[in-house]
Structures are given as structure tokens and as C-alpha cells.
């Protein structure tokens, strides 16, 4: 297992390096001073000012050199500063990541746990009422765009609050502004804010995960080794948990890793719908403002998290499957 883990860790190093390149290059050709440039060039003597501005930002250097500088700074924990407000990218990310992390972790954990449970029950009780109902909802939510579902839940939340006469669901922001509460009060407030956005992501992820788990489970239930276990006289419940589920979890583990990137996209959209000040907002603003350093830092942070999650799922896969671990 140690050899397997080491190998997986070593493989992620070049991938990580590649991710820095992509993060840098994707954004590097954006002109961070596009607006000033247009304005300055219309002024007498503007060309010199533009040149000075370019030099201060290092834009006069070739791309490869700028990448080297960026990478060097990165190694020292410096991701540059926002051209909009001058704040360090690391600070901005440090503020946004915990907010988004709450949402992503809650959505992933809940949707995987429930997705596996629903998928297994559906497969074991194929064509039962439970299976048919969960299939119906899976189809429905699988077809739903995140942004629409989020907006619908937000609308329903507001309507519910109006009807109830008291605010139950918070529909704006990740926590109440100017909140002055103790530790538990803060988390209670945050919990009230996270329900609807998390539900948005969960419902859509759950639809996919449960279908995926169902079909993995159906495949495994028809396998020869499940028949062998039954032929040994192993009781049905134990056949399902020890033999079928153990094997049917494998594809779902890799699936969870693979769809993490999609989940990030869904999170960006959800944060926009619910006006969260998290990673989604940060990214959107940085793109709209042409804030190059922030966009690059953001892409890198997300890239690292995607690589880390896939490393994690690889390790879990290795724990579950001796073939991979020994291979």
C-alpha cells in the first residue's frame, strides 16, 4: 500500500506542474490594463505612461519569463496582488476558500452517503416502489441545471419564510452581515445559510451518484462471485454488504473524484445564485475586472484541490481493491 501511495503521490507532481502552466497561460494573455491603455493612448504622451505601467507589472517581458517569475514567487508563497484593490491573492483566497469549502464538503459528503444508500436499495429492490420513485427523481434532478434549481429553491425558501411569518431559510450570503455571536451562534447562523445552497448541489449530485451506484450494484449482483457467495450459503444481507457493496463502491469512488471538477463549476453557479462571498464570486469578479493575478491564483488553487481530491480517491480505491494496491 505504501508503494502504491508513493507512486500515486509522485505521479501528481508533474500533473501539479502542468496545472500551474495551464492556470498561468489561460489567463496570461489577458491585458490587465486594457481600459487604462485605451484611455492613456488617447492622451498626449500616453504611450510612455503605458510603457511604464507595463514595466511595473512585468508585461514587457516574454511570456516564459513571466511564468518563471510567477512560479518563483509562488514557491515563496507569493501569488501576487489584485490589480483592483491591491490585496494579496493569498489573503483573498484565504478568506474565500473556507466559505466555499463548507459548501463543497457538506454537499459531497451528504450526496455520496445518500447516493450510495439510495443506489444500493434501488438495485437490491429493483423495480420496487422505492426504485421507481428514486428513478423518477434522479431523472428529474439529473436534467436540472444547477442555476435553475438554485433559483427555484431560493424562491421557494422566500415563499416559505413569508408563509411561516418568520425567516427560516436564509437566502442571501454565507452568513448574516455584522454577525455578533459566540462560536455556536456563528455556526448556527452559518447552518441556516448553507441549507438551500447545499441542497441545490446535493440534489443534483445525488441524482447522478445514486444512478451510478445503482448500475454498479446491479452489475455486481449479477457477477459470478456473488453467485459463489450465495452458493456457499452466505445469508443474503451479508452477500449484499460484504461481497456486492465492497465491489460496487469501487466505480463510485473514482466517479466521485472525476466529478469533483464539475462540482466546482456547480459551486461557482450556486454561490452566484445565493450571493455568497466565496470562491465563485471571487473568480467571477476577477474575470469581469481582468484581475489577472487573482484569476491565476484561483485557477491554481482549484487545480490543486482537484488533484488532491483525485489523489485521495486513488488512495481510497487502493484501500478497497487489492489488485490496484499490488499492481
Amino acid at each position: 500500500m505504501l508503494a502504491y501511495a508513493t507512486r500515486k503521490l509522485l505521479i501528481s507532481i508533474p500533473v501539479l506542474f502542468f496545472a500551474t502552466l495551464v492556470a498561468f497561460l489561460l489567463v496570461a494573455t489577458v491585458d490587465p490594463i486594457a481600459e487604462q491603455r485605451v484611455f492613456l493612448l488617447s492622451q498626449p504622451g500616453g504611450a510612455e505612461q503605458v510603457a511604464r505601467l507595463e514595466a511595473s507589472l512585468g508585461l514587457d517581458k516574454p511570456l516564459i519569463e513571466r511564468y518563471g517569475t510567477w512560479l518563483g514567487d509562488l514557491a515563496q508563497g507569493d501569488m501576487g496582488a489584485s490589480t483592483e484593490n491591491g490585496r494579496a491573492v493569498t489573503t483573498l483566497l484565504g478568506e474565500a476558500i473556507p466559505v466555499t469549502m463548507r459548501l463543497v464538503v457538506a454537499a459531497t459528503v451528504i450526496s455520496v452517503v445518500f447516493g450510495v444508500a439510495v443506489g444500493v436499495i434501488s438495485a437490491v429492490r429493483k423495480y420496487s416502489v422505492f426504485d421507481n420513485v428514486s428513478t423518477f427523481f434522479a431523472f428529474l434532478f439529473f436534467a436540472m441545471p444547477v442555476f435553475w434549481l438554485g433559483a427555484v429553491l431560493k424562491d421557494l425558501g422566500i415563499r416559505f419564510n413569508d408563509w411561516w411569518g418568520h425567516r427560516v431559510f436564509f437566502t442571501i450570503g454565507e452568513q448574516s452581515p455584522r454577525l455578533d455571536a459566540d462560536f455556536w451562534g456563528t455556526w448556527a447562523d452559518r447552518a441556516g445559510h448553507i441549507i438551500l445552497p447545499a441542497l441545490t448541489l446535493i440534489l443534483i449530485q445525488l441524482a447522478a451518484t445514486s444512478r451510478f451506484q445503482r448500475s454498479a450494484m446491479l452489475d455486481v449482483l449479477e457477477s459470478d462471485y456473488v453467485r459463489t457467495a450465495r452458493a456457499k450459503g452466505v445469508p443474503r444481507r451479508r452477500v449484499i454488504t460484504r461481497h456486492a457493496l465492497r465491489n460496487a463502491l469501487l466505480p463510485v469512488v473514482s466517479y466521485t473524484g472525476l466529478t469533483f471538477g464539475t462540482l466546482i463549476g456547480g459551486t461557482v453557479v450556486t454561490e452566484v445564485v445565493f450571493n455568497w462571498q466565496g470562491m465563485g464570486r471571487l473568480f467571477l469578479d476577477s474575470l469581469l475586472d481582468g484581475d489577472v493575478a487573482v484569476s491565476q491564483g484561483w485557477l491554481l488553487a482549484v487545480g490543486v484541490s482537484v488533484i488532491a481530491v483525485n489523489l485521495l480517491t486513488d488512495l481510497v480505491y487502493g484501500l478497497l481493491d487489492p489488485r490496484v494496491r499490488h499492481g
Binding site: V268, V269, L287
Partner: protein, 299 residues
């Protein structure tokens, strides 16, 4: 008759009857057929909307913020757009974009996957790296960045968006095709073709790809659904198709703040969008059942 000709004819008959069986299974799948009919009818309606209602998506009527009526089926927005005309245009755009996306992704995925499976070795490893990378790539953020770049060069046109999305969505299919080619390349008819000196190109296009068509078709359908969701999400965030062109995602974005007061602006375009994706998924499900009856639901 020449033996080879009879064999070829026999093969052809077998192949044709297989397709007929598949078609038969598909058409016995009520949901899938209904979904296909509904999607086709919806597409036809996008062209009939203007003649039927008298409104084009570009028209600005003097009816502002009106609810659904016989005059404006889906109501109007604050500046007098007929929302039915807008939704139908958005539907049309989504269908066109997703078809182009699926076309590009399917061709790329099939050919690259078959090339991987046939040549193996370095080619396989090289393309494989790209596939692995694309599979875990957070697609939406990357497309958002690309959108800011392309707008600078004046290219937020419908087709441009479609091509860019298509270039990113071929990886899942490539992986599946590669796997299937790995197993059929060992079959006798491939060995025979290779032994007779058929070129690599001929083997890939004449022998390998026709034998993985069932997966290709199913994945193409799935890609259509993904493409619709990606295109509308981009438009929702303001990074996709730009006004005056219409996207259902942009319509939902404009309507969402009015969800409580002018529900038709938000719920109706959304319903059109979901219906489209649902139909595509049902068709995909029906196709998968038709090709792989083992997974089939008995009625």
C-alpha cells in the same frame, strides 16, 4: 457467385438485421419514443413560433411585464420581449449548439479513442494523459476564462461557443472507445484484416469504429445533454452567448429576480430548458437499452 461476395452480402444482412433489432427495441421503449417525438416537435415549434404567434424574438412590443395570455403565450418582460418567442429562440440555439458540440466531441472521442486502442504504446499514453487531464478539469471555470479571451477577439458567436465546448467534451467517449477497441482488436476479423495488409486508417475506420458504434451513439446523446447544461450555465453567468442572441440560461438569469412577482419570466424558460434535457436523457436511456438489452427494464 463469388464466395467473398456472398459472405459480404451475408454480413451485410446480419448487420442490417441487427440494426433493425436495435431500432425495434428502441421503438418499443415508450418513454424514449415519446421523448424523441416531443423533442422533434419542440424543435419544429421553434421555427413555427413566429408564424403562429406573430412575434419574433427580436420584437419589442408595447406590452410590458404582462403575464401569459393568448396574445403572449409566455408573457412579456419589462421591455416588451415576447417570452414565448424568446424561449423558442433559446431552445433553438441550445439544440443547435448542443448538436455541434456533440458532433465535434463524438468525432474526436471516437477517432482518438480508436487510435489509442489500435496503436497502444506511446500514442495511447500520450492521448491518455490528455484524456485524464480533461476528465478531471473543472470545465466551467476554464470555459469562463476562455470566454473572456474570445470576447476580446470578438468571438462570442454561437458557433464559436459550440466549438470551444466541443473541444473539451470528448474525453469520456475516448476512454470508452479505447477500452472497447482493446477488446475487439484481438478478434479474428481484425487480425484477418491486418494480415491481409489493410492500412491502419482502413482498419480504424472500416473495422474498429463500426464495431463500437453502439457506445458512440449512446455517448453522443449524453454529450448533447451535457452540452445544453454547459452552454446555458455559461450564458447564465454572462460568459456564454451574448445578447441580442438568446440563450435559455440568460433568460433564466434575467428572470430569476422576478421569480416571485413575474413568475413567468423565470419558470417558463426554465421549464422549456428542463424539458429539453429530460427528453434528451430519455432518448439516451432508450438507446442504451436498445443496444444493451441486459440492462433493460421489463414492462
Amino acid at each position: 457467385m463469388d464466395d467473398r461476395i456472398t459472405t459480404a452480402l451475408a454480413d451485410d444482412v446480419v448487420a442490417r438485421s441487427q440494426w433493425r433489432t436495435v431500432a425495434g427495441r428502441f421503438f418499443s421503449h415508450r418513454f424514449a419514443v415519446g421523448a424523441l417525438l416531443a423533442a422533434s416537435a419542440g424543435y419544429a415549434l421553434t421555427f413555427l413560433a413566429e408564424p403562429l404567434t406573430g412575434w419574433s424574438y427580436k420584437d419589442l412590443s408595447s406590452d410590458l411585464s404582462q403575464g401569459p395570455s393568448s396574445r403572449h403565450w409566455f408573457g412579456t418582460d419589462t421591455i416588451g420581449h415576447d417570452m414565448f418567442a424568446q424561449s423558442m429562440r433559446g431552445l433553438q440555439v441550445s439544440i443547435h449548439v448542443s448538436m455541434v458540440v456533440a458532433g465535434i466531441a463524438t468525432v474526436l472521442g471516437t477517432v482518438l479513442g480508436a487510435v489509442q486502442g489500435w496503436f497502444r504504446g506511446r500514442v495511447d499514453a500520450g492521448v491518455g494523459l490528455l484524456v485524464d487531464f480533461l476528465l478531471i478539469l473543472p470545465l466551467l471555470p476554464v470555459l469562463m476564462v476562455l470566454a473572456t479571451r474570445t470576447r476580446a477577439i470578438g468571438g462570442s458567436s454561437l458557433m464559436f461557443v459550440a466549438v470551444v465546448i466541443g473541444l473539451f467534451l470528448w474525453a469520456p467517449l475516448a476512454r470508452v472507445v479505447r477500452g472497447e477497441v482493446f477488446s475487439i482488436r484481438e478478434k479474428e476479423f481484425i487480425e484477418a484484416a491486418a494480415a491481409l495488409g489493410a492500412s491502419n486508417t482502413r482498419i480504424i475506420f472500416r473495422h474498429l469504429i463500426p464495431n463500437v458504434m453502439s457506445s458512440v451513439i449512446v455517448y453522443a446523446t449524453l454529450t448533447v445533454a451535457t452540452a445544453i447544461l454547459v452552454e446555458t450555465a455559461l450564458a447564465f453567468l454572462g460568459f456564454g452567448i451574448q445578447p441580442p442572441e438568446v440563450s435559455l440560461g440568460a433568460l433564466v438569469d434575467e428572470g430569476r429576480d422576478a421569480a416571485r412577482t413575474r413568475w413567468w419570466l423565470f419558470y417558463l424558460p426554465g421549464a422549456v430548458l428542463i424539458s429539453l434535457v429530460l427528453c434528451v436523457n430519455f432518448v439516451g436511456d432508450g438507446l442504451r437499452d436498445a443496444f444493451d438489452p441486459r440492462q433493460r427494464r421489463r414492462r
